[in-house]
Amino acid sequence: MTPETQAPQTKAPGRLYRAWDSDLAYAFRTAPVAIVATLVVLVVVFCSVFAPLIAPMNPYNPAALNLMNGFTPPMEPNAFTGEVFLLGADGQGRDMLSTIMYGTRTSLFVGAMAVLFAMVMGISIGLFAGWRGGWVDSALMRIADVQLAFPAILIALLVFGIARGFIPDGLRDQLAIWVLIVAIGLSDWVQFARVVRGASMVEKNKEYVQAAQVIGAHPLKIMFRHILPNVMGPVLVIATISLALAIIAEATLSFLGVGVPPTQPSLGTLIRVGQGFLISGEWWILLFPAVTLLALALSVNLLGDWLRDALNPRLR
């Protein structure tokens, strides 16, 4: 602590500068795949979040629809009305671009909420199992193993089916989206729990945890304030990859007809509807939602892969 080393540090560099200067930011700037993937995700997220403001029309407002526009191919003026649709129109004359924007909105919302649900549940269970150890840990991890033995989509279907049985008819459509979120979340918590458990078992034997125990800090405080920040790296990686999986899971469930209600179609619903028209030649009704789903899931997945590599010190 000589004066020479202190002098230039009178003004601390700003938070933004430090973020730009960090290892992670450098790894990002030198990875073209990550940059492209981020751009795709940002564009898709922006378009879906601001869909009501920027979409050419609200496809679920019957007053805005003109049935004469039905099955207009992309970039061709309609034979009757002369209207042009960038990505064509579906059987009811809805602009495909608008339906995709609104559909992505639903898909992203369900995916993000499901991952959040799985994260909160998985982190809590994982921290608790790792902290307590012993039979509590064994019991929780065996439950996780059993669940892992079933395909995630099957679990989601099961949860969805059971929930439908309990919810009264009138509320079904209103709650469908939340049931879907819980169903996907429940099928996905195991990954978070396992990773957090493993990492926290390592962390809890470190001396900073013992230092907190010596002064009698509450176990919950040790778990969430001391251990959790130190196991968040791998959790973020899993969360990103899980988001892609959750979006696909939602699309799968909607494709199977058990997902979101018809009043709030997601990308999966659009694909289900669109595939009926494929044979009769109206390819755009299927293709564009499918491409959007592919681009979104692929980009999020690539981002997750990149994040995993960037945070892994052994691959640096």
């Binding site: 470190k206 013992q210 230092a211 907190a212 010596v214 002064i215 001391h226 130190n230």
Partner: protein, 329 residues
């Protein structure tokens, strides 16, 4: 010694190292226990530095962990100013505030995600000693007390060297104004040049705040520099306790003599150093009688059958049958 601050009696700790239940049933094995400490008794007076030395695996750190309530003892008692410290009984907050611990590895003992200010003030906040503003100011003041800069409160641990980190750990230990600090190998992870700085800092703080130390170390030069009294551990048992300087001048127990003989000296006295012979035995199945007898040059029949009890020596006490002949009763 009138009214010791810390009084440890018959302290014993066993660890269950059995194989899982199913393996035991199939292989017809019994439960296996590792005795880390057996029947350890000593007292620490207010203001002194009591050092525990011993080879790896002699149970030094286990004693430290039991004394600060991280591990419950299997038998025996630890009393701090008359009150029991026992992790299995629960330790009242008012008692916890009075002792602290400094750890071996300064790279593991500070949470890497916390700022130094938060780390140091954690005990203050946990014990509710001050409000948040005062706690922050106190953290800055303590940093200066341990020889760092008050502006370091906003930095993260990775911005400091090992010695600086250990200073931060010491500042944290001081923040709850304890009377007693357990130091578990506080310098063994540091460079030799930094070790002396940290040890001198610890001594200065002891004088300034009237601290009592329990110092765990395997480094005899550290112990010689710091300790008022020294306890020598072998395989979980206390074989000798003596006044600091006199242990080095007139070691009584054959194990102590063996340890001292092995220490290299910079004076290059020309003295041939004798390495410690043999290995520390497996604590799961310790030797019968005196645990040291397989390595002891003085061992005789009685050592193989009877566990020696501590008997007074000129500078303290030692547990050795051979001493019966040397020290007139």
């Amino acid at each position: 010694m009138p009214d010791p601050l810390v009084k440890i009696e018959g302290l014993t700790r066993r660890f269950d190292v059995s194989k899982p239940w199913l393996n035991r049933v199939i292989e017809r094995d019994d439960k296996q226990f590792l005795t880390a400490n057996a029947d350890v008794s000593f007292e620490i007076a207010k203001g002194e530095t009591f050092a525990l030395v011993g080879e790896s695996g002699s149970g030094k750190s286990t004693i430290a962990k039991m004394v600060v309530g991280l591990l419950p003892p299997s038998a025996g008692t630890i009393r701090f100013d008359g009150q029991r410290i026992d992790a299995s009984l629960g330790i009242p907050r008012s008692l916890r505030r009075r002792f602290q611990m400094i750890f071996q590895d300064p790279f593991a003992s500070l949470n890497p995600r916390w700022r130094v200010g938060e780390i140091i003030s954690e005990p203050i906040r946990t014990f509710g000693l001050m409000n948040a503003t005062d706690a922050r100011a106190e953290a800055a003041r303590l940093l200066e007390v341990v020889g760092l800069s008050a502006s370091d409160v906003t930095k993260y641990p990775h911005e400091f060297s090992g010695g600086q980190r250990q200073r931060i750990a010491i500042a944290r230990a001081l923040s709850s104004k304890p009377e007693f600090i357990v130091c578990d190998e506080p310098t063994s992870a540091l460079d030799v040049s930094v070790q002396a700085q940290i040890l001198n800092l610890m001594r200065d703080l002891q004088d300034e705040f009237g601290l009592t130390y329990l110092l765990i170390s395997h480094d005899l030069s550290v112990v010689r520099h710091m300790a008022t009294r020294i306890g020598v551990l072998y395989l979980g048992r206390l074989v000798e306790v003596a006044q600091g300087k006199r242990l080095f001048a007139e070691p009584q127990h054959p194990y102590t003599r063996m340890l001292l003989d092995a220490v290299p000296d910079l004076a290059l006295s020309g003295r041939r150093r004798r390495p410690v012979e043999g290995e520390i035995p497996n604590p799961i199945s310790p030797p019968s009688g005196c645990a040291f007898h397989p390595r002891c040059p003085l061992a005789f029949d009685r050592c193989r059958t009877e566990i020696p009890q501590p008997r007074p020596t000129p500078a303290g006490q030692a547990a050795c049958h051979a001493l019966d002949d040397m020290v007139p009763a």
